[in-house]
Symmetry: C2
Subunit: 254 residues, 2 copies
């Protein structure tokens, strides 16, 4: 039987709870500076490591971020990019020469960095989906997407290298309508999609590329595009900054 619930709570958790309350109550708003480590030390009569541990709780929950030499601040959340999973892939978008990404970033300034376009042997699971023979090459397009100069997504796209050879798909600029418009010209336009969604904490590499604060998970979206014949023509693995995105799927009951 847990008695004396309040007295047994570790100091750092009580300090953390007090800070959270202060944030929840609006005493500190997004971007505001919180009391520093030395403030907490004197206010609660604890050692520095204990005060730091309290901040560690807030950082792990994504509520606060520390800036060296400046202080600890309440996290400011980013613009919620509304990614309309189904409608954004309408033929009307890319068929008319539009960019899917530009549609997502409406009202902001979208930018795409091409990190590299290579021919590689794809991971076994992806090669399998694409129906690539053992050792056959895939065209791999790695890109980073930014909104208002802030990175929000990494994407790695896999296609059959033989299929797309000699087309703009192997070039940084894929032309109006992008990859899907080029695939349609090859008679392999996608008509059906499957998106798988996961979430986890980023590795250090992903955190750096996306400029993520501590306590920010990533959302993984893996999209497979199918032709009318049911053949998978593209697998796109995306890593999204979870603090920047809201994914939306709207559909009729099947």
């Amino acid at each position: 039987m847990p008695r004396d619930v309040t007295g047994r709570l570790p100091k750092y958790l009580r300090i953390a709870a007090a800070l959270k309350d202060a944030i929840a109550s609006g005493e500190y708003g997004p971007g505001d500076r919180l009391p520093g480590e030395s403030d907490l030390m004197s206010a609660y009569g604890v050692a520095r490591m204990t005060a730091r541990q309290a901040f560690g709780v807030l950082r792990a929950e994504g509520l606060a971020e520390a800036r060296k030499g400046a202080g600890v601040f309440v996290r400011e959340f980013r613009v919620g990019i509304r990614r309309r999973g189904i409608q954004r892939l309408a033929v009307e978008v890319w068929g008319a020469g539009g960019s899917i990404w530009a549609a997502d970033g409406k009202g902001h300034e979208p930018l795409v960095e091409v990190l590299g376009i290579t021919e590689e042997t794809a991971p076994a699971s992806i090669a399998d989906v694409l129906g690539l023979e053992d050792g056959a090459l895939a065209c791999v397009r790695r890109r980073r997407f930014l909104l208002d100069a802030q990175p929000v997504m990494l994407a790695t796209s896999y296609l059959d290298a033989v299929l797309v050879a000699g087309t703009p798909i192997t070039e940084p600029d894929t032309g109006p309508g992008g990859i899907y418009a080029r695939l349609a010209e090859l008679g392999a336009g996608p008509v059906r999609f499957r998106e798988e969604i996961r979430s986890r904490m980023p590795g250090p590499e992903e955190a750096a590329r996306l400029g993520l604060a501590a306590g920010t998970p990533v959302v993984l979206v893996c999209r497979t595009a199918y032709t009318a014949e049911g053949k998978a023509v593209e697998v796109n693995e995306m890593v999204l900054d979870s603090s920047a995105y809201v994914l939306e799927y709207e559909f009729d009951a099947p």
Copy 2:
């Protein structure tokens, strides 16, 4: 960020990197016990807090978990529940008296705990969507879903209290086909859905209810169900253990 020439990388990050390498190379598999804090202290000649800090990196990334009195262990990942976002809501499922949740947990033992069914004033944003007058009550159903005795999801469902008054929707057991079948009997069966997906780190309350290890984010799914007349009849806010779920949406290009 660590653009330094290997010499200036903090000790705890180098130790963490070594541990990660050992895990990635398969030297330690899921569930294996890692070297303890005192092992790291003697192996690297560091103080205990430094060794702990190294483990902190792995825990924050969800790669390891510490068990008091036992050691630090490589995380074991859970069964990937495949939640087929669109097909699971087919009329054929709930119309035939089936349970949507039972369909998700195929091959496992599904269980639902009813945490409470109350009448409350819903949060403004939800009351707005449901078209509730100012101060009108909502029927709020809070549940926890378990698979093989392990909690994987929390759900809070909001409906118009006047609409559902006197129906099994206000009872713990909603009968065959669940809420949607009952709504259909009221002439308010859902035919269209919108799901919004977000991800963030859990608060301590959510982490406790879902039994989450440190470094495990939650996925938030907010579903709104619409009738044929376009009226929202239910808003369901779900909190998912990200390590247990894969969300899947499969659809034709619109």
